[in-house]
Symmetry: C2
Subunit: 307 residues, 2 copies
Amino acid sequence: MSLTVVGSIAYDTVRTPFGERQRMLGGAATHFALAASFFDEVRPVGPVGDDFTDEDLAILATRGTSTDDVERVAGGKTFFWEGEYGWDLNSRETIDTQLNVFETFQPKLSAAARACDVLFLANIQPQLQLDVLEACDGPRFTAMDSMNLWIDIARDDLVKVIERVDCVILNDAELRQLTEKPNLVSAAREVLKWGPSVVVAKQGEYGAALVTGESFFALPAYPLETVVDPTGAGDTFAGGFVGWLAKNAEDTPSDAALRQAMAYGTALASYNVEEFGMERVTRLTLDEVHDRVEAIRDLTQFTVEVR
Amino acid sequence: MSLTVVGSIAYDTVRTPFGERQRMLGGAATHFALAASFFDEVRPVGPVGDDFTDEDLAILATRGTSTDDVERVAGGKTFFWEGEYGWDLNSRETIDTQLNVFETFQPKLSAAARACDVLFLANIQPQLQLDVLEACDGPRFTAMDSMNLWIDIARDDLVKVIERVDCVILNDAELRQLTEKPNLVSAAREVLKWGPSVVVAKQGEYGAALVTGESFFALPAYPLETVVDPTGAGDTFAGGFVGWLAKNAEDTPSDAALRQAMAYGTALASYNVEEFGMERVTRLTLDEVHDRVEAIRDLTQFTVEVR
């Protein structure tokens, strides 16, 4: 069993009210991989430059993740992002984006990467997502992320990707923008009509909602008194969600499995934001993940005999 | 057993993407009363003008609510608010506010209103909330709402009110502003330190969170494909929440009762926004409320054997 993820491996400089970290390991594929590595053998596909260190490659390899498909571009520099968060961490400003080796990235998947059981297409250009779908041998479950930029400038290609995957994971504002439907439930149902069987709406500090043809499910985020760095929370959520399904679900995940996956995604995202970058999730244990899933269950359950 | 609510009884003109209603019945005390009337004998205290119609008084009296403490101000006009909602209903612009009889409102509580078991102080000037607390004979449970205006211009009085009530129900942004704490959990815990035993953070379309000394609980809003008019959703939530506790809880509500109350508040708020103004909640039945509580339970529950 293996899980291929295609996306960015990056260096981030991040300022939050809790401090600053310069050029620390980040990127969507990295956050996804560290979360999913609790559940499956993960294979990130993405480019890095000469500046990428062996120490950071070792972090990416946490819990057995294969780094064989990390492409080292000679003479290139690793994708760089710099951002600053506002006082309540709900707003952020991008200070600098240097695509570097990501600008000309053409995914080259090894035989092992193509043979994956589960595929996650992190936020990259939709045409590249289509190329990866073509290249793979036929994973039993495919999921994807995207962003407002691609809705603006490459919507047709993006819709083609959506038509071919099982699961779409987007922010609620992106789902609204994509479908031009102001109501989240209507927006999610519209995306389901295009082909996917599962839509997850990420809602930032408020949690996430799951919409399928038969079911609606919503989970709040785990309540933390101290959130240090929200960067990568969405990709960590996706790693927990898709990783759990890779290990615990059949071709068509049951409603129960999808709800459990939501809880694991939520638990992993909550750990991710407790410290900067990959710091917390790198040394996280599976027992801690289970503990938080139980805590999330406790804070959402109620009993009522209504009549 | 009786529940006194002090707050605005108003006429609203509302425009949403679904249409417009002119001078329809509204106001915080009205929305609260129509929801709470499922669970207790409710007694709204608030002023109206000569323009207030018998038809609207009859709506306020739905399900046995006493209108004896509705003060008719001779020569006065009823509080008027006009607003317009944006395309996704999450933003709204106030077009006009005419305080009218509300400008000089001094709550005069009848003996029956003072003898209430449960008291809800809707969003009015904090000094008036203090006057009402003084006037009452000693309700076993007191809850309150407020708004950003009072945090800006009457914070000291507002804090005095908070110190004397059992339960604070505010929007999450108001809790942050009030405590100057960007983190919602920290903000709620700060308010608990001031005196109350229960803090509810309303989160609009995302639902609501409950924080006590021992427990955290969160519920998503009920997912509706069509939201017609969000006006009064927060007051309707408060009416369901406080009303349920008035009927089903002891002096110090248990964690289980508080969670149930959150579900009833959420259910009632979801009906309120399905149509304009009081239209839906006026003709709502208790069976429909119970049905939605069960639906909310179904969409938040998951089981997981974690080890």
